[in-house]
Amino acid sequence: MAGEEEEERNLIEILEENIPIDITKYINYVQSPHCGAISTFAGTTRDTFEGKTVLELRYEAYVPMAIRCIKSICTSARSSWNLSSIAVAHRLGPVPVGEISVFIATSSVHREDSLDACKFMIDEVKASVPIWKKEVYSNGEVWKENSEFLERKDELVVPSHGRKCCGKKVMVIE
């Protein structure tokens, strides 16, 4: 759901339950004849956490805010690197072990931009986008907490703070 395409060629999708991430779609989206590089990151669900067997992860999101936050991260990335296209997809609902829960693809003329921007994008997604996962074990379940969020949560709420996710949209360039 909630596909989003802008003049800047950003594709942001928060996928409803039981829709696997079709990475080819996003790679094709960012591909361009004038680009010499496509960089991607895929986050996959691990089968163990601190020795416990993980059966699956269950994701949920505050979808409209998550999309706004990811848009804002795209804007930030473009202000730091010379990027052609950006695609971000995140699954919701149960994601079985081994499957992709988040996928990011960036393209640029030269590889440094897409590589660095791709790392920036996933770090920012983990720090500021309102998406949650519950880890389900054979004997219980727990809501996970990203350390990136806990370290940064106080600056997230500072009004009109530069490029922070979902800050006031003062940086938008027409």
Binding site: E60, Y62, V125, K126, I131, K133, K134, E145, L150
Partner: protein, 91 residues
């Protein structure tokens, strides 16, 4: 605020609960009536009074107002959407 009887008029906001906050309250959202001039923190206090279990995550969560992270000092308006954002864990 107008000098008329504005204080008597309450405003209504929607409060959203996600993840651990939803587990603790047992609901995804609720309607909350507060007096004009109430801050996001004031709203949160009211919600916690209703659901004391939320104390558990109070110090690690943040608030969002109308889909943007907000300081607790922001004054809410009628029909605002206030979301409790427990520690996120996307990715």
């Amino acid at each position: 605020m107008d000098s008329e009887k504005e204080e008597r008029i309450s405003i209504k906001i929607k409060v959203l609960f996600f993840a651990r906050a939803r587990d603790l309250t047992g609901m995804t959202d609720m309607s909350l009536e507060v007096s004009p001039g109430t801050t996001a923190l004031g709203c949160l206090d009211k919600v916690i009074t209703k659901f004391p279990g939320l104390e558990e995550i109070r110090n690690c969560m943040v608030l969002a107002l109308n889909e943007e992270y907000t300081p607790e000092s922001t004054v809410v308006k009628d029909r605002d959407e206030l979301a409790l954002i427990p520690p996120i864990s996307g990715g």
